[in-house]
Amino acid sequence: MDYDPMAMDDVESLGPVVKISQADSVRVKFELSNVEMPFANSLRRVMLAEIPTIAIDLVQIEENSSVLADEFIAHRLGLVPLHAEGIESLLYSRDCDCDEYCEHCSVKLSLHAKCTGDENMQVVARDMIPVGDRINQVLGSPVITDSEGQGPLLLKLRPGQEIKLTCIAKKGIAKEHAKWAPTSAIGYEYDPHNKLHHMDMWYETDAKTEWPPSEYADWEEPPAEGEPFDFDAVPDRFYFNVETAGNLPPDVIVNEGIKVLQQKLAGLIHELAEGEGEANGYDGPRSPEYNGGGEGWQDQGYTTPYGGGNQSSYGGAGGTTPYGTTTPYGAGQNSW
C-alpha cells in the first residue's frame, strides 16, 4: 500500500515510448516502455488476431483434374498470403450493399493451369492473376518473396491435368480464421534479468551457464550484487519482435494494431456513454440482448456470417439434427 503519487505522475506525463532497434521488410524489433503490462499484451493480442487483412475466402472450381480434392486446394489457396495494402478502403462483405461479393468488398483472382509438357508441373502463387477492378494495384496480389519470384507452391500437375478456378479474396481478421493473420510470430518479453522474480529460474548447477541471456540483457542493468528485491516494481519496458507473414509491412502492423486497439476502446467508451443516457435509470447488469442491443453491444465486428471456430469446414449449414436424417426419408424434418 505504499502508493507513490509522484512516480505515477511521472509516467503519465511521459506517455508510451517506442524505441526501434531493428526494422526491415519482414520484422521490426522495438522496445515499448512506460506502459503497463496489460496494455503491452493487448497490443500483442490485437496484432496477432484483429488486424484486418485479405485472404481467399471463396473458390469457384471449374475444372480440377489434379490429384488433390477441391476443398484441399481451396484450403491451400486460403493460406496464401495476399498483399493487404489499402485494406482499409475495402469493405467487409457483410457491410457491403452487394448480394454476395463485388469489387468494393473483394478481389477476384483467377488461376488456370494445364500441364502440357512431359514433366510434372508446379502451380505456384504467381500463377494466380487478379482480375477485375481493384482498389489499388497491389491489394489482393499474392505475396512473393522467394528469389525465383514463384511464391508458395500450390499444387503439382501431371501431364494432361488441368486446374481452372476463380478465387474471391475477402477482408477478414485472424480471429475468424488464421489465414487472415498478418503476423507469423510475435516475440514479446520483458525484464531480461528477472529482477521482478516473475519466474523461478530453475537450474541444475548454475543459472548463468544454463540459461543463455536474452538478447535484450544489455539493454537493462543487471541486478547489482546484493541488491534488495523491490516488491513494488512493475514491468514497464517490453521488447517486441513483430514478424510479418508478408501481407502487411511490419511497421504497418504495429500502427494498425494500435489503431484497432484504439477503435475497440473507443467503441467501449461509446457504448458505456450511451448507457448513461438511458431513461429508466437501471444500470445493473443486464442481458446483452436487452433493448435489442445484441449486435452493437458485443459484436465488435470480428465475426462473419461464415461461422466461428470449431465448425467443420464445409459449414454445418442446413441445421441437420443428428437424428431425423438417419431415418430413410427424414419424416419430413428436412426442408426439401
Binding site: P38, A69, Y188, G309, P322
Partner: protein, 1157 residues
C-alpha cells in the same frame, strides 16, 4: 545383381546419413547395414511369399505326384496318369485367345470385385485302345495368387512398372484378392509335429510322452503314459491302453532282454522302474510277437482307417489288423520299409526312456511354450493341406465320372478325360476361393475344421496392413485361464516381438514377428541324411546297434527331424563339422543342428515352420564381419546370401540358439562367444519399431502404442486415391516424424507416415485438459493440423434374373412443375451422382431399380408386370460429403457394378482422439484461439498443450526424449540427429549442448508467457516437437442423441444403436438408482411414457385381456377396465398364453376410492 526398386537402395547407399564413400567403416557402427541387405532377401512378409512360392513350385507337384494314377475298376485296360502340374500367370477368368491381353493386375481385381488367380494346367498320359495318349496343358483349375509371389505380375516389377499397374511400390504384398477384398492368411502357431513332447501331470503325478504324427495321409497322436508305475501306450485307434511291453514285443521279435536294453540301457535305475512292465505282458499271456499282434489287433477300433481299399477283403485276422495299425497308424511318420519294425521299436523305446527319465528327474519334461517346440504354419502350408484334400476329391470324382462312362454297355466313343478334368477341376477353384474367402479351413482327411484362418487386410494405415502380415495367431484355447502360453518366453528373444500383442482376451496368444525373423520352408531330408555320414568319421546308422550300444555313456544318438537315425561317439566334432559344411553352403542354411546333453542326443531339423534369424558368426573371439564386407555391401557387390556361404552370417533356429553364446555388442565378445547380434533393436517388430526410445518407456506403454499405431490416420499407400475401399482415412498433410528409428526407414514408414509433428507444451491450461484431454491451437487447425479425409464406398450391382429381366438405372424424378425432386438433386442424367457434388442426408447416389417380376418364366402368357421398384442407394449420414468418384464396370459374372465414393474433409473437433507414439492417447478438450495460448520469447506458440499429469504414472520417458531430441534437431536443422533407436545409447547430453548453443535451455524447457495476461508463467515449460497421430475415432461418427424416433416392431420399445437412431437405454443399474432415490415419476416416464406404455383392456372377472372394452372370454363389458402397461409386458403375457401357460391379471386399487373403502 538385379536392380529391384524396393526402397532399400537409399539405406545401402554409401552416402547415406551423411557418410561418404571414403569415410572409415566401423563394424560396430555400421553393421546395421546388414539389416536392409537381409530385408531385401528375407523377413517381414517374405516368409509368406517364400512359403507360397514353395507351395506353387514344389509342393503342388509333390501332391500331384502322390495322387497321379487313376485306374478304372470297370475297364481294366484304362488308366490315366498326371505327369506334371504348372501354375501360370494371373489372367482374367473370362480368358479368351482372341483378346490381346488376358493378364490382370491386382488393382483391376480390387476395383472390379474379381479374384486375383492364375490358371493351373496339368499334363496327362492315358490309354486309348492300347495306345498311350499324351495331352499337355489341360486347364485344371484356378488358384488364387499371392501378391508379389513368384507367379504375381508384381514380382520383380520396377517402380515404373508398378506405377503403370496402379500399384504402390511400398505395398508389402503377401495377401490374396478374393472377390475384390484383400485377404490375409494369418500365420498359425502350433506345437511341432513329429516331435516327442514329455509332460508331467501335476495331479496324477503321471508322466506322458506324446507325439503328433503328421504325414500326407493322416494325422494322429500317440501317447506313452506312465500311470501307477506302469507304462502304457494310448492312441485314438486303440480301444484301450496297451501295456508298452506288448507293443514292443509286437514290433519284431525282441527278447525281454533286448527290450530292456533298448529302453533302459545299462542304467539300473531305469531297469528297476521298467521291470514291472514285463509282468503286464505276462499277465495278459503275451509272450511272442504273434500273441502281441493278436492282442493289439483285437483292440483296434473296427473300421479303423475309413478309406481302406475295398478290393482288400474286409474281414482280416486280428494279427493283420494289429500289424496294419502298428505299421501305418501308430507313429505313422516313422515309415516301415520291408516290414522292418526295428526303427519304430527304437522310436517307441525312446519315448519310454524319456518318460522314465522325466519320472526320475522332473526337470527333464519339455516346455510346451518353448518357442523351439513350436512351428508356424504359413499360407503355403495351409493351401497345400487344402489343395491336397481338394485334389483327392477331384481324383475320386473324376474316377466316378469315368466309371459312369465305362458302365454304359454300348459306348459310341472312347473316353476322353480332358473335358471332365476341366469340369471337375472347377470344384478345386471353388474350394480354394471359398476357404480363403470365409476363413474356414476344412480338411476332411485330417478331420480338421478351423475357422478364422483368414482376415480382411486392414487398410486403415500402412502400418496396420504391415502389422497384419507379421501377425501370428495361436491355435490354443482363448478362454482357458492358463498364463503359460500368454507369458513372455525367454526363447522368443529376437524372434517374436516383445511388445506387439493385443490387450484383452487375445493378449499373448496373438503375437508378431520381430524384424529379422524368418520362417523356414521344408528342406529335403534325404540330402541332409547323406551328409550325416559324410560329415566326419565315427557316425554309423542306428539300425546296426542294439540298446546296449545306444545308451552307453558317451554315445550320442543323432535325430533327424525328431526320429533317431544314427549314432556317434563324437557329437561335438560332428556338430562342428556339420556347421562348417553349412557355413560353406553345402548344406542348406536353414538346416539346424543342436546338441542335448541331457538326452545324449544330436538333433538335426529340416522341417518347415521353424522360426529362425540371422547372426554374425564369431570365431576365436573375433567377429567374422569385417569392414571390407560392409564396403562390398555398400558398393552393391555383395548380398546377404553371399555372406551366408562365406561364413560371415548364419541362420539359427530357436533350438540351435540354445547351444550358442551370443554377444549383444562387439565389445562384449569373449573367447567363448560364438555369435554376435546384428542389431539389438531387431528384437522388436515392425510396429513396435515406430516408437522412439522404447527402451525408456514402461513396457505396457509400448504395447498400447502397438495397438494405436494401427488406428492412426495417415498415408495408406501411394495408390490410395485410386482405391475404392468401404472406408478409407487419409491425412491431408502427413509428416515424416522428427525423431525416427532405423526400423521406420526399413519399413518405409517415413514414406507413408501417419501423423504430424506437433509443438507440444507440457503444462496445465484451462481445466479442459484433465484426464488426458488435449488443448489444441485453433490457428494450427486452421492451417491444416490434424485435417483428414474420409472416403466411403457405396456400391450397387445390377443383377440379371433367370427370367431375362435385369436391374436398371432409372432417371431423375420430377415434381409437377417440372423441377427435379430434392431427393434426386445430386443425380446426373445417367442416374448416378455427379462427381464433385455436395451430397446431403437422404439424397440418392445410385438410382438403381429392380424389376418387380423376378420369378415368371416369360414363356407364353407367364409374364409378370413390367414395373420396376426403386432400390436406390441413398446417402444416410447427417454430415454432408462430396462425391469423389463414380466407378462403373463389370464383374466376373458379367453384371454391371457401380461404385460411388464419397469424401469428407474433417478438421479436428472437440472429442476427436489423438495419440503420441508412447501409448498416450487423449481427446481434444478445448480448442483455443492462438492469442490466448502461451508463447515463447521468440513467438513460438504450441499446437498442443498436454497436461503434465500424464507423465508420472505412465513413466513414458521416451516421450520426453523424443521431445528433446526433436527440438535439438529442429533448432540445429540436422535431421540425422533425430534417431531414437531402441537400445541405442541416448543422446540427451549431446542434445542439451545443441540446445544451449542455440540459446535454449539444455533441458528443453522454455520461458513461456501467458497469452491471456502477458505475464510469464512462473515455471519453465517443457516443450518441443512430438509426433502425434490422429486416431480413427472421431466424434462425428459417434455423436448421437434422440428425442423421438423409431421403435422396434415386436416390443414397441425404442430401437437400439446409433445406426438405427436408437434411444439411450436406462439400464438396470440406472433403474436401481432411481428406485433407491425414490424418483418414481421419473421412473414412470422413462420406462413407460417414453418407452412402450400401452393402454390395455383387462377383464377383472377373468383376468385376461379384453378388446375395446369387451371381454371375449366372459362375453361382457361389465368388469373390463383400462390400464397402462409396458407393451413388452403385454407381449410376455400373450406369449405365455400361446405356450399354454395361463396368466391372469388381478387388479386392485393402490389408492382405493373413498366410496368403496
Amino acid at each position: 545383381m538385379v536392380a529391384i526398386d524396393d526402397g532399400f537402395e537409399a539405406l545401402l547407399e554409401p552416402f547415406y546419413n551423411g557418410k561418404k564413400l571414403t569415410d572409415p567403416i566401423s563394424t560396430k557402427e555400421d553393421k546395421y547395414q546388414l539389416l536392409p541387405a537381409f530385408l531385401k532377401v528375407k523377413g517381414l512378409v517374405k516368409q509368406h511369399i517364400d512359403s507360397y512360392n514353395f507351395f506353387v513350385n514344389t509342393e503342388l507337384k509333390e501332391i500331384v505326384k502322390a495322387n497321379r494314377f487313376i485306374k478304372s475298376d470297370q475297364e481294366e485296360k484304362f488308366w490315366l496318369e498326371f505327369t506334371d502340374i504348372r501354375v501360370g500367370t494371373p489372367t482374367r477368368n473370362d480368358y479368351s485367345d482372341i483378346k490381346t491381353r488376358n493378364d490382370v493386375t491386382p488393382m483391376e481385381c480390387r476395383l472390379r470385385d474379381m479374384t486375383y488367380a492364375a490358371p493351373v494346367v496339368v499334363d496327362i498320359v492315358y490309354s486309348r485302345d492300347r495306345k498311350k495318349i499324351i495331352r499337355k496343358d489341360i486347364p485344371l483349375c484356378r488358384i488364387p495368387v499371392m501378391l508379389k509371389s513368384a507367379k504375381c505380375c508384381l514380382n520383380s516389377a520396377t517402380n515404373a512398372e508398378m506405377e503403370i499397374m496402379n500399384e504402390c511400390p511400398l505395398d508389402p504384398g503377401g495377401y490374396f484378392i478374393i472377390g475384390g477384398t484383400e485377404k490375409v492368411i494369418l500365420i498359425q502357431e502350433q506345437l511341432s509335429k513329429n516331435r516327442v513332447i514329455v509332460e508331467a501331470d501335476e495331479k496324477t503325478r503321471g508322466v506322458s510322452a506324446s507325439v503328433t504324427s503328421s504325414t500326407h495321409e493322416r494325422k494322429s497322436k500317440t501317447y506313452v503314459v506312465l500311470k501307477k508305475d506302469r507304462i502304457i501306450m494310448q492312441h485314438n485307434v486303440l480301444v484301450e491302453a496297451i501295456p508298452i511291453v506288448i507293443v514292443l514285443k509286437a514290433l519284431g521279435g525282441m527278447s525281454d532282454y533286448e527290450i530292456m536294453e533298448l529302453v533302459a540301457g545299462g542304467d539300473a535305475r531305469y531297469q528297476d522302474d521298467f521291470l514291472i512292465n514285463f509282468d503286464e505282458a505276462t499277465k495278459a499271456g503275451v509272450y511272442t510277437q504273434q500273441q502281441a499282434l493278436e492282442y493289439i489287433g483285437t483292440r483296434v477300433k473296427m473300421g479303423g482307417p475309413k478309406n481302406r481299399p475295398f478290393n482288400m477283403s474286409s474281414r482280416r485276422s486280428p494279427v493283420e489288423e494289429g500289424l496294419d495299425a502298428l505299421a501305418n497308424i501308430i507313429i505313422a511318420h516313422v515309415t516301415i520299409e520291408g516290414l522292418d519294425f526295428y526303427p519304430k521299436a527304437i522310436y517307441i523305446a525312446m519315448m519310454v526312456r524319456r518318460v522314465l527319465m522325466a519320472s526320475h528327474n522332473p526337470k527333464l519334461v519339455d516346455d510346451r511354450d518353448f518357442v523351439g517346440n513350436k512351428r508356424l504354419e504359413l499360407a503355403g502350408q495351409l493351401l497345400s493341406l487344402l489343395f491336397e484334400d481338394l485334389f483327392k476329391m477331384f481324383v475320386s470324382s473324376l474316377k466316378g465320372n469315368m466309371e459312369h462312362f465305362f458302365k454304359k454297355p454300348n459306348r459310341t466313343s472312347t473316353y476322353d478325360p480332358v473335358g471332365p478334368i476341366s469340369g471337375q477341376g472347377a470344384y478345386i477353384t471353388m474350394g480354394l476361393n471359398r476357404a480363403i474367402q470365409s476363413g474356414n479351413w476344412t480338411v476332411k482327411r485330417f478331420n480338421m475344421n478351423r475357422a478364422g484362418v483368414t482376415h480382411v487386410l486392414s487398410r486403415l494405415s500402412y502400418i496396420a496392413a504391415l502389422g497384419m502380415m507379421t501377425r501370428i495367431s495361436s491355435q490354443f484355447e482363448k478362454t482357458r485361464k492358463v498364463s503359460g502360453p500368454r507369458a513372455l518366453q525367454p526363447s522368443q528373444w529376437g524372434m517374436l516381438c516383445t511388445s506387439d500383442t493385443p490387450e484383452g482376451e487375445a493378449c499373448g496368444l496373438v503375437k508378431n514377428l520381430a524384424l529379422m525373423t524368418h520362417i523356414t520352408t521344408m528342406v529335403e531330408e534325404a540330402a541332409v541324411k547323406r551328409w550325416v555320414f559324410s560329415v566326419g568319421a565315427g557316425v554309423e546308422i542306428l539300425r546296426n546297434f542294439s540298446g546296449t550300444e545306444m545308451h552307453k555313456p558317451g554315445s550320442y544318438i543323432i535325430h533327424v527331424n525328431g526320429t533317431p537315425y544314427a549314432l556317434t561317439r563324437y557329437p561335438k566334432r560332428f556338430a562342428h563339422n556339420f556347421r562348417k559344411m553349412r557355413r560353406k553352403g553345402f548344406i542348406n542354411p536353414f538346416v539346424s543342428i543342436n546338441l542335448s546333453e541331457h538326452f545324449s542326443s544330436v538333433h538335426i531339423a529340416t522341417d518347415e515352420g521353424r522360426i529362425c534369424r540371422p547372426y554374425i558368426i564369431v570365431k576365436d573371439g573375433k567377429s567374422m564381419l569385417k569392414p571390407e564386407h560392409l564396403r562390398l555391401l555398400q558398393l552393391g557387390k555383395a548380398s546377404f546370401d553371399s555372406f551366408l556361404v562365406n561364413g560371415v552370417v548364419e541362420y539359427l533356429d530357436v533350438n540351435e540358439e540354445q547351444d550358442t553364446l551370443v554377444a549383444l555388442y562387439e565389445t562384449d565378445i569373449t573367447q567363448k562367444t560364438t555369435h554376435l547380434e546384428i542389431e539389438p533393436f531387431t528384437i522388436l517388430g515392425a510396429v513396435a519399431g515406430l516408437i522412439p526410445f522404447p527402451h525408456h518407456n514402461q513396457s505396457p506403454r509400448n504395447t498400447y502404442q502397438c495397438a494405436m499405431g494401427k488406428q492412426a490416420i495417415g498415408a495408406i499407400a501411394y495408390n490410395q486415391l485410386n482405391r475404392i475401399d468401404t472406408l478409407l482415412y487419409t491425412l491431408v498433410y502427413p509428416q515424416r516424424p522428427m525423431v525416427i528409428t532405423k526400423t521406420i526407414q526399413l519399413v518405409h514408414y517415413d514414406k507413408l507416415p501417419a501423423g504430424q509433428n506437433a509443438t507440444v507444451a507440457v503444462m496445465s491450461y484451462s481445466g479442459y485438459d484433465i484426464e488426458d484431454a488435449l488443448v489444441l491451437n485453433k490457428a494450427s487447425c486452421d492451417r491444416g493440423f490434424g485435417r483428414c479425409q474420409v472416403f466411403r464406398k457405396y456400391a450397387a450391382e445390377l443383377q440379371k434374373y433367370p427370367n431375362g429381366r435385369r436391374d436398371r438405372i432409372g432417371g431423375k424424378e420430377k415434381n409437377e412443375d417440372g423441377t427435379v425432386i430434392a431427393k434426386h438433386a445430386a443425380l446426373d442424367d445417367d442416374g448416378l451422382a455427379i462427381v464433385g457434388y455436395q451430397i446431403h442426408s437422404g439424397e440418392t447416389m445410385i438410382k438403381k431399380e429392380t424389376p418387380i417380376d423376378q420369378s415368371s418364366t416369360g414363356i407364353g402368357t407367364d409374364r409378370g408386370p413390367d414395373e420396376f421398384r426403386d432400390a436406390s442407394t441413398n446417402y444416410r449420414i447427417a454430415d454432408p460429403a462430396y462425391i469423389d468418384k463414380v466407378f462403373v464396370s463389370n464383374t466376373e459374372k458379367d453384371s454391371a457394378i457401380i461404385k460411388v465414393q464419397t469424401r469428407q474433409t474433417r478438421r479436428p473437433e472437440l472429442g476427436d482422439k489423438f495419440s503420441s507414439r508412447h501409448g498416450q492417447k487423449g481427446v481434444v478438450g478445448i480448442i483455443v484461439e492462438q492469442e490466448d495460448l502461451p508463447f515463447s520469447d521468440a513467438g513460438v506458440v504450441p499446437d498442443i498443450i498436454m497436461n503434465p499429469h500424464g507423465f508420472p504414472s505412465r513413466m513414458t520417458v521416451g516421450k520426453l526424449f523424443e521431445c528433446l531430441t526433436g527440438k535439438a534437431s529442429v533448432v540445429h536443422g540436422r535431421r540425422d540427429y533425430g534417431f531414437g533407436d531402441a537400445f541405442r545409447s541416448h543422446p540427451v547430453e549431446e542434445m542439451g549442448k545443441v540446445l544451449i548453443d542455440h540459446g535454449f535451455s539444455w533441458e528443453g524447457k522454455d520461458y513461456l508467457t501467458s497469452g491471456i495476461t502477458g505475464e510469464p508463467h512462473e515455471a519453465y515449460i517443457y516443450n518441443g516437437p512430438i509426433y502425434y497421430q490422429r486416431l480413427k475415432h472421431m466424434v462425428q461418427d459417434k455423436m448421437h442423441s434422440r428425442s423421438r424416433g423409431p421403435r422396434a416392431i415386436l416390443t414397441r420399445q425404442p430401437t437400439e444403436g446409433r445406426s438405427r437412431d436408437g434411444g439411450l437405454r436406462l439400464g438396470e443399474m440406472e433403474r436401481d438408482c432411481l428406485i433407491a432415490y425414490g424418483a418414481s415419476q421419473l421412473l414412470l416416464e422413462r420406462l413407460m411414457i417414453s418407452s412402450d406404455g400401452t393402454e390395455v383392456d383387462i377383464c377383472q372377472q377373468c383376468g385376461l385381456f379384453g378388446y375395446k372394452g369387451y371381454c371375449q372370454t366372459c362375453k361382457s363389458t361389465s368388469q373390463v377396465t383400462q390400464m397402462t402397461m409396458p407393451y413388452a409386458a403385454k407381449l410376455l403375457v400373450q406369449e405365455l398364453i400361446s405356450m399354454n401357460v395361463g396368466v391372469r391379471l388381478q387388479l386392485e386399487d393402490e389408492f382405493p376410492h373413498p366410496q368403496h373403502a
